[in-house]
Structures are given as C-alpha cells and as structure tokens.
C-alpha cells in the first residue's frame, strides 16, 4: 500500500505475556519512529531509526521494550512481560529522510491498540 501499515490494529493480552507490534513504512522512507499514546494524552517518543545508523533508543521506558528494523524497512516493537501500564496505542511513523532543511514530514500509521489485562 501507499501508506504506513501497522499490525495488529488491536491486541489484547494478559499481563506477563510478550507482544510484537509490526510497522511497514512507506517504501523509500529511511526514517522510522515509534511513539506511544496513552488515552487522551500526547505522543511519547520511544525510538527512532535512520538508515543504517544506530537507533536512538532514548525514549524506551524500560528494558522490557525493544525494537528492530530489518533491512532498513519493516520494524518490530517488542514488549516483554507486559504490564497493565503498557496499555496504549502504539503509533509508527516514517519520513523520507532526515536533514536540516527538508520537510521532515512524518507519515503515521493507524496505530496498534494494546490492552493488557
């Protein structure tokens, strides 16, 4: 498709289980971001990938969270031993490239809604 694709759109899991969320960015976009949005809140930055550079993991809330991006395209966000406070919408965004004066416009997916019981 032409847009950012995320799966699953909804995930309900039990506390303590691991979950994987997938993001398929727009073809050719070298920058990829993960954000978390709790109910009625703003977006919390989690992690950023740019090409083959080391990812910026500064926003990951704990070591239970990890993400990888294979082949510079698809990304997977993994949450281990989920807790109830992990319940949120996880949004992925991609951008054509990063630079000082390019637009830097982010294209968002529809999000993966995670509910931890």
């Amino acid at each position: 498709g032409a847009g950012v694709s995320q799966s699953p759109s909804n995930k309900v899991t039990e506390k303590g289980k691991d979950v994987e969320l997938r993001c398929d960015p727009i073809s050719g976009h070298t920058a990829l971001y993960w954000y978390r949005q709790s109910l009625g809140q703003g977006l919390e930055f989690l992690i950023y990938f740019q090409g083959n550079s080391a990812p910026d993991k500064s926003g990951l809330p704990s070591d239970r969270f990890s993400a990888e991006r294979t082949g510079g395209s698809v990304s997977t966000l993994t949450i281990q031993r989920t807790q109830q406070e992990d319940s949120a919408v996880y949004l992925c965004a991609s951008s054509l490239r990063a630079g000082t004066w390019d637009t830097g416009e982010l294209f968002f997916g529809e999000g993966s809604r995670l509910t931890v019981l």
């Binding site: 930055f45 950023y48 949004l91 982010l106």
Partner: protein, 110 residues
C-alpha cells in the same frame, strides 16, 4: 518537559467561527509542525513552519511562529464540523527527533 504545551486543552466552537490554538516550547527548534488526529486514527500532517519564518498559510489554516516567545499558533478560519479533531504541534530538534505536545481537542458544533 520535552513536550510542547498546547492550549487550550479543549475548545468548543460553533460552525463558521474561527478556532485558535497555541503551542509553547522550551528549547530551540529547526521547524515546528502541526498535525491533526481524528478519533481513533493516526496523525496527519497539516503544515510546517521553519524557524526563520513568521507566518504561513494553507487554505483555511494560518500558522504563526514567534521564536523570541517560543510559541506558535494555529488558526482555523470558518470552521466546519469536519474539523473536529485533536491538533498537535510537533517540534523538530537537532538530531531529527520530533516532540509532540499534549494536543488541543477541538469540537465544532454544527
């Protein structure tokens, strides 16, 4: 806080009125962007203003930026019911990170 601060948190207006939302930030920026989010959906880019620009227009949208006050405003003129959504400002810092505010929830009453 790394995030911008939008105000008001919520705004309710009649169709046809103008809606103004503000965004304040704390650190220097390369550019500032405004995004819209319909309920249960992802964010959609509306408009970008660079740090050396003071005002920008796009259709019914007008964005201003005052770097001395570290603030921006988004004006939607002649609002429509379809403008009902949450609006976020995003600040791009050096290093290509984008920080989003907490958003303004706009309700346009038909």
């Amino acid at each position: 806080s790394q995030q911008g601060e939008e105000d008001p948190q919520a705004l309710s207006i009649q169709e046809g009125e103008n809606a103004t939302m503000n965004c304040s930030y704390k650190t220097s920026i390369n550019n500032l962007q405004w995004y819209r989010q319909n309920s249960g959906r992802g964010l959609v880019h509306l408009i970008l203003i660079r740090s050396n620009e003071r005002e920008k227009h796009s259709g019914r949208l007008r964005v201003t930026l005052d770097t001395s006050k570290k603030s921006s405003s988004l004006l939607i003129t002649a609002s429509r019911a379809a403008d009902t959504a949450s609006y976020f400002c995003a600040r791009r810092k050096t290093g290509n990170q984008f920080y989003f505010g907490t958003g303004t929830s706009l309700t346009v009453i038909p």
